[in-house]
Amino acid sequence: MTDVPFSEGLFPEDNRHEPIRPRAGDPVVLPGPTMGSMTDQICANALRRRAFLWWYILIAPFVLGTAILIAAITWLFYAGIGIWGVSWPVMWGYALIGYVWWIAIASGGTFISALFYLCAVEWRASLNRLAETMTLFAAACAGIYPILHLGRPWLFYWLFPYWNVMTIWPQFRSPLLWDFFAIFTYVTTSIFFWYFGLIPDFASMRDRATSRGKQTFYGVLALGFRGSERQWRHYHPTYGIMAAIMAPLVVSVHSIVGLDFAGGATLGWHETQFPPFFVFGALLSGFAMVLLWAIPLRRLLGLESYITGHHLDVLCKLLLVSSICIGYSYMMEAFMAFYSGDEADKINFMAKVSGSSLAWIYWSTIAFNVTLPQLLWFRRCRLNQTLVFIVSLLVIFGMWCERYTIVVMSLRRSHLPSAWGTFVPTIWDWATLWGTVGLFASGVLIAIRFVPAISMAEMRGLIQSREKEEQRA
């Protein structure tokens, strides 16, 4: 038996050098890699027999988190929803917060890969695989929450308009039903879109795999893609059509998540601005999450030539724009609380922003989602990887606070003071929250271990055009 080392060292071999810092005016792809060397490098990452040491170190806590999630869900199904902190009148808690939070995070990938594809933006080629992978697992985390959230989760399929002997249909006026369709559509199309984009890369992997098992594995996944002109001729328009379907879905899914709340007559929810407000929030957290992954992975996977200062710069600008948009929404929310003339609405809003020990949650939302990203007006900040990483992390936290404010703080103060209450999360709320973080991160890490972290097919196109330009020059 050959002695197989546990890992293949901390980093990829061709990356054991000083890190390349992002600089202003970086091109989309740094000079150096050729089509061949790029394909070699990306395939090698996915095809090697043992993962890098950093991968093991990084994934360990997240796998633990996933195990905790499984335990938490098992106990939840056994004991009932009462193990959570949800109560009367705060009937929705961490499940709904987590759901909205994750689905928003998922948006980043779709937005980058679908919308910017349609706009023929070059730089997306370096990020789309990463972003879509992230979308996939964030959407998976979002997708389990609505089922966990049910009082009788084993009956979740009653939301399907399926044919049954009782001829009972779901209730089509309920935003929760729209939500169910929206999420279902979004998750399935996201999976297809991600997979479809991967087909040419799977073909490359199949061709480079050395062991029989890997050849079969990637061969099956490649669906017989051989790179013939005829296949490419079909592939490109199909991909374009899928992108054209996906791009509006980003908007629709978050609008409908917004309607989950706006459709209720509940104080703090019943606002016409919620659909765009939620789209802004989704984009903000989506971009933040892409940055959160891109910054460490460009170093860890040796992708510094492909994810450059240009990408950081563009993503930070997008983050800044969505932050300004969401700032506007916060302002309108505050304004409407007073403009509507409803005394209860005013009390509800004032209870969020002051006078309670939980007011810091509201102010964290403002600080991390609106104030902090203003740093990104400065190019030096945009190119400072540590700073951008911290800002992104805090934006993700700020977005969670925003959802807490919307879900919990609104329900705490309803019209009748006799029905006011509080919400105290239990250990199972936290276990489920951190459990989904584990599921998300371990899912993404496992995916980038086995699939190419960069869309090689598209990257080859970029490098080819760069090489042509160089030749012309």
Partner: protein, 959 residues
Amino acid sequence: MPPVNGQWRSLKELADDPDFLARAADEFPDLSDALASAPDRRSAIKLISAAIATSGLGGCDWAPWGTLIPAVKIAPNIVPGLPNVYATAHLFDGYAAGITVKHFMGRPIKVEGNPLHPASLGATDPFAQAEVLNFYDPDRAWAITEHDVPVTYQRLQEALLAERTKITESRGAGFRILTGTITSPAVAAQLDAVLSTYPEARWTRWEPVSRANISEGAILAYGQPGEMIPKAGAADVILAIESDLLSSAPGHVRIARDFASRRNPVRTEKMSRVYAIEPVPTLVGAVADHRFIAGPSELRQAVNALAAGILGTPPSSGAPPWVPEIIADLRANRGAALVHAGPDQPPEIHALVFAINEALGGRGRTFELIAPVAHSTPGREISLTGLARELHDGKVSTLLILDSNPVYTAPGSLDFAAALKRTKFSLALTLLPSETGHVAQWAVPMAHSWEEWSDARAYDGTATILQPQALPLYNGISMLTMLALFIDAAPPPALDIVKSSWQSRLGPNFDGAWHDILANGIVPNSASPPANISLRSGAERNAISEIAPQPLSVLFRPDPHLWDGRYANNSWLQELPRPFTKLTWDNPLLIAPERAQDLKVGNGDMVRLSIGETGVTAPAWIMPGQAADTIVALLGFGREHTGLVANGTGFNFYPLTGREGAISLQKAEGHMELASTDHHHLIFGGTGDYARHGTLADFRRDPRLLSATGQVPHLYHWKLAGPAQWGMSVDLNACIGCNACIVACMSENNTPVVGKDEVIQEREMHWLRIDRNYEGSPDHPDIYFQPVLCMHCEQAPCEQVCPVGATVHDQEGLNVQIYNRCIGTRFCSNNCPYKVRRFNFFGYANKEQRPSEARNPDVTVRGRGVMEKCTYCIQRIAEARIAADRENRPVGEVRTACQAACPTQAFTFGNLVDSGSEVVQRKASPLDYALLAGQGTYPRTTYEGRITNPNPAIAGGKE
């Protein structure tokens, strides 16, 4: 009489029991040989295992004695699936209030008031509603115990034989009987028989929450005992001095009805005016037009000033400034004024109150005097203190304690537990295991009042025969039989004893009369006639001694729902939010906001209350509207040797009672989470839109002043079409916050109890809650009660958001919840502006220690993960609909459980299409308004706003 149980004391006894051996021989031939042989080591071990194996068999032997015939023919009048209703009475502190009990296949499931009974008129209090749970309580005493060890009935009989011989010889010297208040003619006759058999025996009549002050006051005033029957319906002006008129006075259910009949200006010619003077909020105080807070010394000053103004006694100094206006109002309403003082006031105050009432000329109109309803045997009674002294002195050889729990409830200064241990023979007859049963030599399970024949009298003397409602669950012995056992080893059945006490009074046609009495629940014409007694001369001149203002005084009050602790094992009552604090499962010390500020304590912070050497550490609770110099300690909690529900719940303040010494209240270490269903911090002001209210003067000016803010316009209106459209009107003028409706709802609708921890988590399941709104300053707030239940909105926000259509409207305008369809998204609750929906976060009903026989078979028991809410008692509507269909007539009257229980008829429910129905009339009232009208929900439940009648001469009345 059958053995109470089949338990054995020793393995030897078990082995020698020929009956057991015969049975064992039939079933296990080898085993019986082993049991019959002389025991050696090996067979002893075999015996032990045999004992373990067969000990369950004895437990199976619980069938009622006699020959059992399977129900091949169902008993007459019983149709499976249809209820039967039988009349009886509910006893509260000995006084009866008529009830009817609804049965399914012989199982009692629901209590309703008896409309024919004068103390009920069809309504009940929360205690009567909760009696179902007491009856089925799995913790009830089930075995005769001697020193806490179960023994056979034969063993008790042997002991009683010895005892009878002994006390017959001593002519009853050293024989003492302790009971509560007795109004039952049969029990009284039996007791008299025992007392006459043993001439030296003495009887102690004692209630922990005593009304003795009132009877002593009557003796002071009239020179002889008398009992006052208030007639609140006839009074134009009522002055309540820490009165229990609406909460616990004998006849309070009836009095509340009379009281409320004069409180809604739409339906009464002349609205009454109510003044309340009290140190702590009472139900009367909350609904009074003027509520004056007075600590003990100020209260005495006020009463003295009152007496001076009305009786002409020497004026007192330092009377509160508002007294003269009250005097003027009382005097202006001579013949239509009523003054009522609660049982906690000293006899002298009661004597003055009797004199004042006589002076105001209300006798025969606003009140009546009758001979006391409670049984007494002058000359043969000793006080509890006397009994305790005798016990300590070792003078008592035989003590019989009937349905009383002195070890827990006797004043702490008497040290009753130690006293009790000094008797040679003590026997406690208890419904539940009790502290007294634990200390006494013998504890005998008592038959529940639904298990044995008896009788009792109401506040006005009306008698009711208590007929058994079911076969005994636990082989208890009734109080009648227990007394009879002290005369005769084999007493006649209780039915015979009861019948014989009525034989002479019912005349020749006994059987017919007896049948009518049982069917109607009252003995006709048995009410006491007015007593022909008059004030002693000079009685009015007994001005009460004033006491110097104390920095602190402790007021021991019964818990509003556990009373003296007898209902502590009733989880419905434990979890019933107390009218003012909305607390459940606990009895913190109630202190005034001012006192809390001084001590720097908040709700739940621990404090130590000591009187002299004795102290109790308990959490504090801030009670707005309480006199600053008082601390209220609620009795009834902190039980130790009773059922699982009560044990260790709350704090026992009885040890502090009867003590003398300096009173101190200090902040202690720690904090305790208390389960109040009122989760918001106190808000003052701004409640005007929820519980709308105005003054009579404003109402006269503009009758529609409270319905001015109407509903928002809407395009789609529900058409009131079809045979029935259901709706409800709640009269806030009538609601006294007594909580009877909540228990009635729980009983009718199988609503589960969730326990203290879940209440702290805000997960209580009451379909109906009574909001207590404060207005004004915390020191002296106005209090407004408002029952809130599902509004059955015509434009129901809950229905639109349910993704599976589990909550929908039916054609009769009901917002129905389909439990089977509910998957528990809980969006409906979020969208409900009134927050009346309740969610089964766990399978609460599964966890309840309650036999399924006790549930209402017409109502689904909800499982985990399902939303539930008020259905307007849809099962009762269905019943009415079926009856109407069968008789081919339009659907008739339906009474919801809350409506039926309500003493004051605050709820009116009915068909909105039927223009003659009461609900249509009430909804036409100018006071009618919808809660949160601005939400555009068009609720089917509307309220009649509260109108108060403050005296224009006094500033600061309720507005």
